[in-house]
């Protein structure tokens, strides 16, 4: 019985992923911005992500703009980022903020 529950749990995780709405993190090459400075900032954020964050993990498939700031503070401690790095990553991960 317990084993069955565990298997259901595992299948649920995979199914949730397969059926979930994938909203990819904006990529500087596809994201349209109103100003070139915003594009530059997003590109800088993407580069920072590749150099620092991607040492350990990939970008999230989807991330709520409300969650980005706290996540970046968390990562600022882990990856020794500067305040301006945090802002550039914010532009990359949540361009609407």
């Amino acid at each position: 019985m317990r084993l069955s529950l565990m298997l259901v749990f595992a299948v649920a995780i995979v199914t949730a992923g397969a059926l979930g709405q994938s909203k990819p993190v904006p990529n500087s090459s596809t994201q349209k911005h109103d100003t070139s400075s915003a594009t530059d900032s997003s590109a800088a954020g993407e580069q920072l992500f590749r150099q620092h964050c991607a040492r350990c993990h990939r970008p999230p498939d989807n991330i709520s703009p409300n969650a980005v700031k706290a996540v970046l503070q968390h990562m600022r401690v882990r990856a020794n980022l500067r305040a301006q790095d945090e802002q550039a990553l914010l532009k990359y991960l949540a361009p609407g903020r």
């Binding site: 317990r2 397969a18 979930g20 999230p60 498939d61 706290a70 882990r78 500067r82 305040a83």
Partner: protein, 341 residues
């Protein structure tokens, strides 16, 4: 065990209460629940086990300079017995820390934090990050007793620019036998150089364990993600009176979220060895020289779900055996207060 589970549940409720008590600090920086969940099936030398795991991380910004972070790990270990299956509950609080981020050069941390020794403990342990579900053999060196320390830590960048960064972390930990806060009395540091443009980093770690017999643990780590070749290589070496060993892991680069279905496949391989010097009680290391090779893959599904599987062969005299792992992991990430924008 029931009492331990009740204590842990109380602690989680307390944490949730603390999180909900702080929304006023963060209209701009809202608390988040992150971390991972998963299910791991293992066959180790013919013995099967199953582990549903939830390892939530809470990050609660208190303005721009202060951050409260916590991570728990709750899992049920279900294993085979001659009469069927039995199970055991494990719950631990891996860190609960307050950070003061003065600037890039200095962050002061107090509370319970992950012991900064090498790169594996702080960076690769999350279930949704690790490429192979089994930790390296030498993982206990420099991280005992639990991988966590209770005390204070300073960390940051000593000097650096866009081309190179000289970073450090130094800490002191008190001894604690309090359940969920178990730690050893120890002091240590890690320092390293990171070259962002080359994707290369290397560093050394040292720990002086200050309770019972005072012993030293030393380590060296290196990681490389060449910008022009889509591979990653990581390695650690560690030495203690118990013995010494190393691991080296290679993989293709972590695919980004827009990768094609084929490029979401990530092969992984790791080789490691441990050489026993002296018998030290409760060091969580193999009792004899041991080598192990693992090979497997990760496959990244949409919406932060990953499936991974691996085969490992352990060479340890009469304990030679095969180890199979199959896992599904999910990366949790959502805000826990505030209105949508």
């Amino acid at each position: 065990m029931i009492r331990a589970r009740a204590r842990l549940i109380r602690a989680l409720w307390l944490s949730a209460g603390l999180v909900c008590a702080f929304p006023a600090f963060g209209q701009a920086s809202r608390p988040v629940i992150s971390g991972g969940a998963g299910f791991i099936a293992t066959n180790d030398g013919g013995n099967s086990s199953f582990q549903p795991v939830i390892a939530p991380v809470a990050a609660i910004p208190l303005g721009d300079k202060f951050l409260v972070e916590a991570r728990g790990d709750v899992r049920e270990f279900i294993f085979e017995t001659p009469s069927g299956h039995d199970h055991q509950f494990f719950g631990s609080l891996e860190y609960l820390q307050l950070d003061y981020i003065a600037n890039r050069n200095l962050t002061i941390t107090v509370g319970r934090f992950l012991t900064p020794f090498g790169i594996y403990n702080e960076r690769i342990t999350p279930i949704w990050i690790r490429n192979l579900q089994d930790a390296p053999i030498i993982f206990p060196i420099g991280t005992r007793t639990t991988g966590s320390s209770d005390g204070a830590m300073v960390r940051g960048v000593i000097a650096g620019n866009d081309a190179v960064q000289w970073n450090y972390a130094a800490y002191f930990s008190a001894s604690s036998n309090v359940q969920q806060f178990v730690s050893g009395r120890a002091a240590g540091f890690r320092t390293g150089l990171f070259f962002p443009r080359q994707g290369f980093e290397a560093g050394v770690s040292y720990q002086r364990f200050l309770q019972d017999q005072h012993v030293n643990a030393t380590g060296f780590h290196v990681a490389w993600q060449p910008p022009t070749i889509p591979i990653e290589v990581r390695s650690e070496f560690a030495h203690s009176p118990s013995g010494q060993g190393y691991w080296i892991e290679g993989t293709s680069r972590v695919p980004d979220s827009q990768a094609s279905l084929i490029r979401r496949f990530q092969p992984v391989a790791r080789f490691q060895q441990f050489f026993r010097d002296h018998f030290v009680p409760a060091d969580f290391l193999p009792g004899r020289d041991t080598s192990r090779f693992d090979a497997g893959f990760n496959y990244y599904l949409p919406s932060n779900v990953r499936v991974n599987a691996s085969y490992g062969r352990v060479f340890s005299g009469p304990n030679d055996r095969n180890v199979w792992n199959v896992a599904a992991t999910y990366r949790i990430l959502f805000p826990i207060s505030g209105r949508s924008q």
